[in-house]
Symmetry: C2
Subunit: 394 residues, 2 copies
C-alpha cells in the first residue's frame, strides 16, 4: 500500500472537507486589486493598538506568559470575567466558567467534541457556519438541519423554524448549535426566537452552543439578545476578538459555559493543542476595554460599507442580498449561478479578482456566495461592481 | 438532566484524562523556591532574542501575517524547508511536505486523527509521551504497548523490543508512534533500532509517527539517526521550537510528512483551530538559524545541570535514573513510591516545593516520576536534593 492510498479514516469521508473556505488560491487578472472577501482585511481594519502593545509586552516578559493552565491564564480570565458578565447579562465565574481557546474555532471544536457522542443527532441551523456541520460529521454524529428564514421582505426579521427545532428535539437531538449574528447572512435573532430556543432547551432537557463571534458588531442600534441571559445552565457561548477586533492572527477565543462543560473542554485541550498561545492570550487584556468610541467608530465604518455594497447588489437586478444586521457578512443570492456555483466562483476570481466563499458550504444554498465586507471601503465597492458584472454575464 | 450530569462522550472515558500533567496546582511551603519540573523554565532559558523580534515585527506588520493557509505561511515554510532538509537528511518540499501546527502537540493530534481509524490497533512505545496513548484512545482505537528497555547498565543503549513491535504489526497494527529522544527517559534510539523500525514498517506496509521535538538537544556528541532518512514515504516527523528553543508560548510546531498525509492534516486543521497563530508563525523565521554557537551553549548548559542532578540522585541510594542522552528529561525510579505514587508526588509539592509528572502517565510505571531539568541550575540542584530527601523519608 503506497502512502498516497493510506485509507482516510471514516471521519474524513463524513467531513467532506474538499472545499476549504479561505484556502482558495489562483491567478487574478493584472491591473485589478484583488479583494479576498473570504475573510476581513486587517490592513484596512487593524487590531486596536492596545492589543499589539499587550502581546509585545507579553513576549518580552516571557516567564509570566509562556505557560498557562490549559484553560488559559487565570489573570486574563479574571480580567475579562466582569466585562463578559456585563455584556452577556449574567455573572461569569472566571475560575470555572471560562476557557480560553485557540481562536473561536478552537472553542467550537472543543465544545462539540465535549458534548456530542458518536451516533447522536445534532440540530444545526441552515444556513450557518460550515464548521458546525463538519465537526458534527467528524464526530460521526448526524446534523439535523433547522431552517433560518432569512429571505424576508426588507425590514422583516429573519425567523428560526421553531417547529423544525421542536421536531429535531422530538427526533432525539439533545444539542443545538448556531451562530448569532448568523454567519453567513448577518441576520440577528429576534428576542422571541432566543427566548423560544431557551424554552425548548428546557422542555427537551437539551443544551445549546451559540457562536456569538460577531455579537459586538450590531448595526442600526438594534437590540441583541444573549441566550445565556435566558438559560445560563443550558448554554455555551463562543466569543472572541478575531472578527470585529481584527485579532484573528493571535488565535484566541473564549467559551463561557457551565463548569462541568469547561472542565471537559480543558481535558480535551490537553491533547489537542495544550493551550492558546501563552503570549497571545495577552490580546484579551484590552478586550471589551478599548479606547472610548473605538467600537462605535468601527461599527459605523462597517455600516457605511454595508450600505454601499447592498445598494450595488440590489441595484443590479442579478444579485439579491439581505441587509446585514450584525457582523460583516453579506450572503448573496445569484439565481443565474444555480447549477454552476463553482464556475461562478472561479470566474469571480479570474474575471473580477475577487475571492468569495461558496454557498453550498453553509447548507443547501446552490446559488449563493458569502462576502466578508470588512475590507478597504473603496476596494470593496469596486469589487462589488465587478461581482455584479460577472453575475450579469452569467 | 442537569448539565453537571450531561453524559461525557465515550471518548472521554477512553482518554482517562483525570491527571493533566502541567496542570497541578497546590500550596508549596514558604521559604522554599518552588521548582516546576513539569515543564522548562523560560526565564532560566529564554527564547533566542531573534524570536521575540520576529514575532513583534509580525504583529506590527499585521496584514502580511494575520491569515495564512491552514498549513501555515508559505514564506515561512520556504524559509525552513532547506534547513529541515539539511537536518533530517532528506529533501523536504515546502509546498507539499510541511504543515505548521499549533505547537507540536497540535501536530501530534492532527497526525493521529488523520491516520487512525476507530477500532484500529496502534503500536505505542512504553514509556512514552502520555498524549500518544490518550489521543489513540480519544480516537477509539487501541494502543498496543511496545517496550523500550531503558533500565540498562550505565553507558549501555536503550533498546526497543523489536520482537514486540513485530508482534504488534502481526496482530494488525499499521501505525507506530514514538518519541526520539524518548520522552520521559531521555534515551536516544540506536541507529540499528531506527533502521529496524524502518525495515519493519516496509515489511508490514506500516506508517510511523516520530516525535523529534527534542532532537536538536543531543548530549555528549552522540549521533542522532533520523527515521525520515531511512523511510521518507512511511514517516511523519514532528518538530518544533517549543523545548530546546523555549518558544512554547508561541504554539508553533511543524510536521514533515508525505503530501497526502499533510493534505489530510490540513483539512482537519480547518475545523480544529484553522491555523497556528499567524503572528507567532514568525517564530519559525530564525529557527535553525540562531546566532552561531547559541545551540552549542544551550546544550552545554543543560548537560551541566543533567550531570549534577544525576549525581544527586544516583548518590542518594533511594532514587535511580538513566543518564539523559537527549532532551531535558530525567525519569526517576523511586522504588519506595510503589503503590503510593500520588502520595509521593503530593509530598514533593508540600514538603519539597517541587512539581513533577507522575510515572503512570507514561505507561505502567507505578514508581517513577519525570523531571524537566531545563531550570535555573542552582534551583534545580537544590530541588533535586529535596526530592532525594523526601524519597529517603518514604
Amino acid at each position: 500500500m503506497a502512502v498516497a492510498s493510506w485509507p482516510a479514516p471514516y471521519r474524513f469521508q463524513r467531513m467532506s472537507a474538499d472545499h476549504a473556505p479561505g484556502q482558495e488560491r489562483s491567478e487574478v487578472p493584472e491591473g485589478l486589486r484583488h479583494v479576498d472577501f473570504s475573510h476581513g482585511d486587517v490592513s484596512a481594519f487593524p487590531p486596536p493598538p492596545e492589543v499589539v502593545d499587550a502581546v509585545t509586552a507579553a513576549l518580552r516578559d516571557g516567564g509570566r506568559y509562556a505557560y498557562s493552565p490549559y484553560r488559559g491564564h487565570l489573570f486574563a480570565r479574571e480580567l475579562i470575567a466582569p466585562r463578559l458578565s456585563a455584556f452577556l447579562g449574567e455573572p461569569v465565574d472566571p475560575g470555572s466558567e471560562i476557557i480560553v481557546t485557540p481562536g473561536t474555532q478552537g472553542g467550537l471544536f472543543l465544545a462539540l467534541s465535549s458534548l456530542v457522542e458518536r451516533g447522536d443527532k445534532v440540530a444545526v441551523v441552515a444556513p450557518d457556519y460550515f464548521a458546525n456541520r463538519k465537526i458534527v460529521e467528524y464526530l460521526e454524529a448526524t446534523p439535523v438541519p433547522v431552517e433560518l428564514g432569512y429571505r424576508t421582505a426588507a425590514g422583516e426579521p429573519a425567523l428560526l423554524d421553531l417547529e423544525g427545532l421542536r421536531a429535531a428535539f422530538q427526533s432525539g437531538a439533545r444539542l443545538l448549535v448556531f451562530s448569532n449574528p448568523n454567519n453567513p447572512t448577518g441576520a440577528v435573532y429576534t428576542p422571541g426566537d432566543i427566548e423560544a430556543i431557551a424554552g425548548l432547551a428546557a422542555e427537551f432537557d437539551a443544551f445549546v452552543v451559540v457562536d456569538q463571534l460577531y455579537s459586538r458588531q450590531i448595526f442600526d442600534g438594534r437590540a441583541f439578545t444573549h441566550l445565556r441571559a435566558h438559560t445560563r445552565e443550558r448554554c455555551l457561548t463562543l466569543l472572541g476578538p478575531s472578527k470585529t477586533e481584527s485579532v484573528s492572527g493571535c488565535r484566541v477565543g473564549v467559551a463561557v459555559a457551565p463548569g462541568p462543560v469547561v472542565e471537559r473542554m480543558e481535558q480535551l485541550q490537553g491533547i489537542v493543542s495544550l493551550r492558546a498561545a501563552g503570549y497571545t492570550q495577552a490580546a484579551l487584556e484590552p478586550w471589551f476595554a478599548e479606547t472610548e468610541g473605538w467600537l462605535d467608530q468601527r461599527i459605523a465604518a462597517h455600516a457605511l460599507i454595508r450600505d454601499e455594497l447592498h445598494e450595488v447588489f440590489t441595484g443590479s437586478g442579478d444579485v439579491a442580498a439581505r441587509l446585514t444586521e450584525g457582523g460583516s457578512y453579506l450572503f448573496l443570492d445569484v439565481p443565474a449561478a444555480k447549477g454552476r456555483i463553482d464556475e461562478f466562483v472561479a470566474r469571480l476570481r479570474t474575471e473580477a479578482a475577487v475571492t468569495v466563499t461558496r454557498g453550498p458550504e453553509f447548507g443547501d444554498f446552490p446559488a449563493s456566495v458569502r462576502l466578508n465586507f470588512s475590507q478597504d471601503h473603496q476596494a470593496a465597492v469596486d469589487a462589488a461592481r465587478r461581482i455584479a458584472a460577472v453575475a450579469a454575464r452569467l
